[in-house]
Symmetry: C2
Subunit: 354 residues, 2 copies
């Protein structure tokens, strides 16, 4: 499995190359100054165990999402949340809307369920075909997995549509694992989340990792309105899995409205700039994105291995997207960062494609 963000270490070790990392989708604004100050001022929190109940942290998250503390589960990154969900829901037969992030499959495989895939089709521009999905969702599935906005396609399903799907699933006895790890990058941000409908059969996964540029900190949470499931997860989780700096960061970051506002403005500008820039380049086809990364298809004769190699020699790491389900060796994914680097990357893509 190609892990996002991991390859910069391997490249450095094996080839001695430092690259601009466009394979990991992290807010280019970097660490919030308020977080930096808070960490430096509060380093001594490391000398104590975190609150095993993570109560203050949950209060801030609950407020941010307009829900109650009882609806929140915290974890060492969204990954822990997904593994905990799989372990405690114990689904028998799962349908994953694909191509998508491979980690759902990995988490679900630990509980030995049967896994099927619902294909987002290229000739439908990777947009979710709801009638076709509902047809597929007969009684034999007990879990549907949806990433929204979806990684790697960048497509976003409006909450009104998702709400219909959630009701449909509820009537069929199907749970939904809804990964909203990139929701803050969508125009309208948190207002676009499904959370307000408080569906008991929908478990929402979030991370502070991407939007707040803290992948090194490990900080994810889940929102659930299913009391029984919540109880099981809390009963089975490892104590203190969230470190004290992540605990502090949650409180600081979710209230850093300046950082949030600036980031939202940046992504609104740059996702258009990047798409339009890529559209100008012959030999590739970018797909319209609603988030901070963009899926691109090579439509000349070049294969992604060759393209990726050329980009590395130009100093840029892109994400080979060929190992996503239903994609092949013509696809790659690019992060969207600040204007200066985006310009540089556009020039490199143009050079590499020739």
């Amino acid at each position: 499995m190609e892990l996002h963000g991991g390859n910069i270490y391997k490249l450095k070790r094996e080839k001695g190359i430092e690259v601009l990392d466009y394979s990991a989708n992290i807010n280019p604004m970097g660490l919030s100054d308020r977080l930096k100050e808070a960490v430096i001022e509060n380093l001594s929190i490391l000398e104590k165990y975190p609150d095993p109940d993570y109560l203050e942290m949950k209060e801030v998250i609950a407020k941010h999402n307009k829900v109650e503390v009882e609806n929140i589960v915290v974890g060492n990154g969204a990954t822990e949340i997904m593994f905990l969900y799989a372990k405690n829901l114990k689904p028998k037969k799962v349908l994953i809307v694909s191509p998508t992030f491979a980690e759902y499959e990995r988490a679900l495989k630990t509980v030995n369920c049967e896994i099927d895939y619902f294909q987002l089709k290229e000739d439908e521009d990777f947009i979710l075909n709801l009638p076709r999905l509902q047809e597929t969702l007969d009684r034999t599935y007990d879990l549907l997995v949806v990433c929204n906005p979806n990684n790697p396609t960048g497509k976003f399903i409006d909450k009104l549509i998702l709400n219909d799907l959630a009701v449909y699933c509820k009537n069929k006895g199907v749970s939904i694992l809804l990964d909203e790890a990139f929701i803050e990058f969508v125009d309208g941000s948190m207002e676009r989340s499904l959370v307000e409908y408080r569906h008991e059969n929908v478990f929402i996964v979030r991370a502070l990792t991407k939007f707040f540029a803290i992948p090194g900190l490990r900080l994810g949470y889940g929102i659930t309105f299913d009391e029984k499931l919540k109880g099981k997860i809390e009963g089975n989780r490892e104590p203190w899995s969230v470190n004290a700096i992540a605990e502090l960061a949650t409180k600081v970051l979710l209230e850093d409205s300046e950082y949030i506002k600036k980031s939202e403005d940046w992504i609104r500008e740059e996702k258009r700039f990047m798409y339009e820039g890529l559209e100008q380049i012959k030999g590739i086809k970018p797909y319209v994105t609603e988030t901070n990364f963009i899926l691109v298809k090579l439509i000349n004769d070049m294969k992604v291995e060759e393209f990726r190699g050329k980009m590395i020699s130009l100093g840029v790491l892109v994400r080979d997207a060929s190992n996503f389900n239903y994609l092949d060796n013509r696809y790659f994914r690019l992060a969207i960062k600040d204007r200066e680097n985006n310009k540089k990357v556009l020039r490199c893509v143009e050079d590499a494609i020739r």
Copy 2:
């Protein structure tokens, strides 16, 4: 379950009381200055994913233990290591040397094995009776769990004896989970570890948490010489479970020889001071300890709930040890900290016991 270290938050929330925490066994030297500087200088590491292979981190740990990188597994605290070990070893029938840390049982219960306890007896001063243990270890067990030095008794089993036990177990097909989370506090420190014998059937758990006073950071590791088990664990672990600051801390702390030396000198002095101080107080019996905490028995008519309540009203939180297997409501555990606080706590114990 009463979690170590957690109660200070509950006390503060529910009663508004700030106490001196003698329930958690943390090095009173606090955060190493070198770590503080390193974190402040390198905050931007949070903006990148950690190395998914944690290679540099493992190199430092391997060197520290005079083993190879291949022998090291890293985790989000010793807790994650224990859960990973249980999940991948999948033992059928386990014998836990008790009273001991409750987390082994919790981790093992997630894999539904049968659990028995081997009693460390008070009339044997809680010292391991090897012949009696060997008798108990017939072919029906496939895992033995030993904490060394043992929490809460403070007793340490010499590596020559443990080596005999490991060989005995190997011949019987029994694996050993050996928790050495407090080994650095034993006189002679790492030189007293079983690691040098490189037993394939012994999995050693370590944490930097206690000795380096970073319980808020979550940082543990395992040492194994069983290639197959190592492969399974690496294959099943969640990616990036160790945060980037913990990764950095490992490199800084294990090479901070000044901090290590000072801590070793402190604990050598203070464990004697604390034992001798407690021995002078009528109505209690302290047990000789080889580490940084001490088990104490109330031998007047007082019960531990009452004693603990009195101590809280005097501003000190002790660990009620009555919920450890084979102990009852006459036992409590005290951390050992710096001289000034130790003196204060001794005075409080004397006041509370009257």
